[in-house]
Symmetry: C2
Subunit: 220 residues, 2 copies
DNA sequence: GGCTGAAATAACCAAATAGTTACTTACGAC
DNA sequence: GTCGTAAGTAACTATTTGGTTATTTCAGCC
């Protein structure tokens, strides 16, 4: 029961609203990434995203249209990141073996450093990758990457380091699959095998394991 | 505008309701499996499950308590299936190599024949495997399985077929990971690599690829 | 200095949705 | 037969939730 000074409509009580469209948009995107990754597309709540972003829900619709388009924007950013960082990889300089090691470490590090990526991609694949199918820009980047990898393998063959007939795309899928499944299903697996697969040393051992599998697979 | 014979409460129009608790329970479980697999835990709708099962929604709560417990029941059945079929595997008879081939084929076939499994396990891992952590029975089956696999590897070593130092659990995770990721993220990957990875011949090639990776990984 | 459009807010709404209530009906034990 | 219980139904509800309406406020431009 406030006693005094409570005028019906306080003249200038609230601090002036600082506007910052870019920052608002960015904060929404960050919050959406977090929450979509944690809860999935259907589990995520628009209100929760708005609260986490510290903005009014209306702004979310202002900037992104609707929930699905916001999810698409989150995914688009993720695809962008993957494509950019993959394209920036230099597999050419150095020996073929070191190129391959570099690729494995990049992939492993990427999913370790971007845990969001896994649940987001899972959500996307639950919906049969319908957002990716619309998105452009992917084909433009993926083709050069596949070519670069195949060239690395061919160079290894001609240098007598790698055997012939290794398919670049399949090798790449294998590398990603090995780290992705380990992290994606780590909770189940930890129960099954009765150890904590997210422990630092376990993860380090797994990285070594992937290197071994790849090395032995391509070895001449 | 019906003209006649429409008595206010038709005496025995509807055929007597045939009761069949076991069948009802089973139909609910089938429908729930389908829909949880297709939409995830949060995306699935209780009403849709009830409709698909052809039962009244109330029965779903009668038999399973609530949505989450129904999901747990679906998962429990899946874990049961995986455990039973894994335990039934005979890796002992025959050569170590053939035992390993048998294991790979079993895992690959299992996920090809049970596409539900992948999305259900993904949904479970999105929730940090909280249902599995409660479920008993797993540890009882998994330990013998791990032991069996390690024995297979040791036999291969003593027969001079396999190299020493291969970890059974890691090998198993690798095998599952290779097929699981391929199928789980096949939609994304198909866009990325601009081909249909769910095509029969692509899948056959992938199976061969997994065999090669495993063979080369354990080879002496 | 005032005008205009974008940025921001609060309150609201209709549809969807998990879960219930109150009731009826078949089945099997006795 | 009849009686208690579990199987089954229809209609309902409290809440959640994605999306909107109506309105205000700031920032930059002329």
């Amino acid at each position: 029961m406030p006693v005094q000074t409570a005028s019906k409509k306080p003249a200038k009580k609230n601090p002036p609203v600082r506007r910052n469209p870019d920052a608002s948009r960015e904060r929404i995107l960050r919050a959406a990434t977090d929450i979509f990754a944690a809860q999935g597309l259907d589990g995520a709540r628009v209100d929760e995203i708005a609260t986490r972003a510290g903005i009014n829900k209306r702004m979310l619709y202002h900037y992104f249209g609707n929930k699905d388009d916001l999810f698409a924007a989150v995914l688009d950013e993720l695809y962008e990141t993957i494509c950019t960082e993959s394209a920036a990889l230099d597999l050419v300089s150095g020996s073929p073996q070191s190129g391959l090691r570099k690729l494995v470490d990049f992939v492993v590090n990427f999913y370790l450093e971007n845990p969001h990526a896994i649940t987001l991609l899972n959500a996307e694949n639950l919906h049969k990758a319908r957002h990716l199918k619309i998105s452009e820009r992917i084909r433009a980047v993926q083709l050069p990457f596949e070519t670069m990898l195949n060239e690395l393998l061919m160079r290894g063959v001609s240098e007598g380091k790698f055997r012939d007939g290794v398919n670049g795309a399949r090798l790449y899928i294998s590398i990603v699959g090995l780290i992705y499944y380990y992290l994606s299903n780590g909770h189940s697996l930890s129960v099954f095998f009765d150890r904590d697969l997210f422990d630092r040393t376990e993860i380090a051992a797994w990285r070594t394991h992937i290197h071994q599998m790849v090395d032995r697979f391509v070895a001449a």
